[in-house]
């Protein structure tokens, strides 16, 4: 199992760099993972998306539907891509400490 190291902090991740221990997530963890997604600074916009996904995950055990994420955060899909270059299901979910979605997505 690969390990992602950030300033001495070690995280177990999958091959794509998604956190494997979801319960370890905190805002500091999101900051550490931001650099793997080429995001220099986490702005209020990033946090709005990350926190929405995280809270949805705690309630439903899965990422929210992409359309719901857009509507509830007020961002269009292309704006989410501007915030998270690899997109809602990959970049944003990774920073929120969720596993990578699989299937026909």
């Amino acid at each position: 199992m690969p390990v992602f190291e950030c300033e001495g902090r070690m995280y177990e991740v999958d091959e794509d760099g998604f956190l494997q221990e979801p319960e370890r997530w905190s805002q500091d963890v999101a900051k550490d993972f931001a650099q793997t997604e080429a995001i220099a600074d986490l702005t209020d916009g990033h946090w709005k998306v990350i926190n929405y996904i995280r809270n949805y995950y705690l309630q439903f055990g899965i990422a929210p539907m992409v359309r719901k994420l857009c509507k509830e955060t007020g961002y269009k899909l292309n704006e989410i891509y501007q915030l998270f270059p690899s997109g809602p299901a990959k970049g944003a979910c990774k920073l929120a400490g969720l596993p990578k979605p699989t299937g026909c997505v």
């Binding site: 719901k68 699989t102 299937g103 026909c104």
Partner: protein, 531 residues
């Protein structure tokens, strides 16, 4: 950049094709299945490994397992033995494979892909091969051959285009399926296939969405529809005694642009007053078992029928899913059928009998909708799709595995004013694959996906340049997930959508408010709004 992948080496390769050495370079293979998913499915040899490792940690008696597995399948599947025996190497299939066209790798010619297994078959299961070995075209089964099989059987999307051109009708997809099934026996599988399959057993669908999440998503869709149309549609879930069970791919209630197709289904069902139910247990039409083994495919398919029985429905309606229809049309009946506890499907609106579904008792939504339109039961305003210049990608499985060619086109022609076909050798039975089917649609495999999808994208680019096409319609969730990436690379400016998204846009509903946007929330032009 497209120029980079366009440099395809098509010259005769050096060396001997019987040399199995392959290089697992990033971009052209899929990661191994995580041990937890292998365990969840009770499959053999869960462990941590990756294809690029030198040691694959195979079980000590891997060779015996593979050969016994092959023997068992040669006895069980007559088609498999036939396909091992009858190829005359005429080469008709060679340049028909999108992976060969896009990669130039001769082992991606269907004839050679099959030969990778045939050579082992000859060595161990034919008299001449047992006596003369290499001289009779046989190859000794080695660990390197296991790696070669893994590499090339996961560079085939089981799309069956090659089989259309084979004068003997050899279906290389079935050889790939057996290849993957054998690799499964020694624990060589990919995560993009096994995690969805494991999720499907755990929560009912590939994505791992639980019942309360399923309900939340569908109710959100109903809320959005109310905003768009002013009409509140019902969201029946697990409703016993409904006439029809509706099954769709889980991506339809998770991803974009799939979601707009979901809206289309829900509008249609409301408008015709269909007595139906969704199910949180059968909340997946897709069947990633098909990409792994017959056994797994059977287990996943059974779930849909169990639920139909439990709910007491009369028959099943299936959504815009690709490989679900391969499983349904070609395997279900002998695996889990006959579904004689259901009734022969009859449209409650038109009275049309779907005789083709007499045995599986499951009807494709495009057949169902085309029949509604044909019988004059729907009011459609095609001008609401005027921002689109549409072409249609025949998704491989509905097209080649069940012959669903006219119905989607009929719906599109009725729901849109501007429809343009791609060149004839790239559509219908000869359709080119998206390059990401059969469980290959994962990010780490991106280079191979872009190569394999190149012939499809090239035909899209042709109609984009010739007719200004800006929407590629299709009826498969893997298409909707992977074609946007493909087109962004090869034909930027063309978007991807579902046939029932177009239908939903055009559908005039009784009591609706004047529509100001399409299902994507894009404003309709002024003339349309005031029409």
């Amino acid at each position: 950049m497209p120029q980079e992948l366009l440099r395809i080496e098509a010259k005769k390769p050096g060396g001997n094709w019987t040399d199995p050495a392959v290089q697992f370079r990033k971009g052209v293979f899929c990661y191994s299945a995580a041990a937890k998913n292998v365990r969840a499915l009770d499959l053999p040899n869960p462990r941590d490994w990756q294809p690029f490792d030198a040691d694959w940690k195979l079980p000590p008696d891997w060779k015996r397992i593979l050969l016994e597995g092959m023997k068992e399948r040669l006895e069980k599947y007559r088609s498999f033995r036939l396909f091992m025996d009858i190829c005359v190497r005429c080469g008709a299939c060679a340049d028909k494979c999108h992976f060969y066209v896009g990669s130039g790798d001769p082992k991606n010619m269907p004839v050679v892909r099959a030969e990778l297994m045939r050579s082992v078959y000859r060595r161990y299961f034919t008299l001449t091969g047992r006596i003369f070995g290499r001289l009779a075209g046989g190859r000794e089964l080695t660990e390197d051959i296991v790696k070669e099989w893994f590499y090339y059987f996961y560079q085939c999307t089981e799309c069956r285009r090659c089989s259309v051109f084979c004068p003997y009708g050899i279906d290389t997809a079935e050889i790939t399926m057996i290849g993957r099934e054998l690799l499964n026996l020694i624990g060589c599988n990919t995560n993009w296939v096994l995690e969805p399959a494991a999720n499907c057993f755990r929560t009912g669908n590939h994505l791992g969405i639980q019942p309360h999440g399923f309900k939340d998503s569908l109710e959100f869709a109903a809320d959005e529809l109310e905003e768009i149309t002013g009409i509140r549609v019902d969201v029946p879930i697990n409703r016993k005694g409904a006439e029809i069970l509706f099954v769709m791919p889980s991506a339809d209630y998770f991803a974009e642009p799939h979601y707009y197709t979901l809206l289309g289904y829900m509008m249609l069902f409301h408008e015709i007053g269909l007595d139906f139910t969704f199910s949180a247990f059968a909340s997946e039409g897709g069947n990633f078992g098909l990409f792994s083994s017959h056994e797994l495919m059977k287990r996943l398919n059974a779930k849909v029928y169990e639920e139909a029985k439990r709910l007491g429905v009369k028959w099943i309606l299936g959504g815009e899913c690709g490989h679900m229809w391969r499983v349904l049309h070609q395997y279900m009946d002998t695996m889990n059928g006959p579904a004689d506890f259901l009734e022969e499907p009859v449209s409650p609106i038109t009275g049309t009998k779907f005789e083709n579904a007499r045995s599986t008792r499951m009807v494709h939504i495009c057949e169902f909708t085309a029949d509604l339109i044909h019988s004059g039961k729907l009011r459609l305003d095609a001008s609401r799709n005027d921002r689109w210049r549409v072409t249609y990608h025949d998704s491989c499985n509905p097209a080649r595995s069940m012959g669903l060619l006219e119905e989607p086109r009929y719906i599109i022609r009725n729901a849109c004013h501007r429809f343009f076909e791609m060149p004839e050798n790239t559509i219908r039975e000869q359709t080119f694959c998206c390059g990401s089917g059969a469980g290959l649609g994962t990010d780490e495999n991106l280079e191979m996906r872009l190569r394999g999808g190149f012939p499809r994208a090239n035909a899209v680019k042709y109609v984009q340049e010739k007719h200004g096409v800006n929407l590629l319609a299709c009826i498969c969730a893997i298409d909707k997930a992977t074609l946007p990436t493909l087109l962004e690379y090869w034909a930027p400016g063309v978007e991807v959508g579902g046939v029932h998204e177009l239908l939903g846009n055009a559908l005039v509903m009784r009591g609706e408010k004047p529509r100001t946007t399409d299902l994507r929330g894009e404003p309709l032009s002024a003339e349309v709004t005031h029409a």
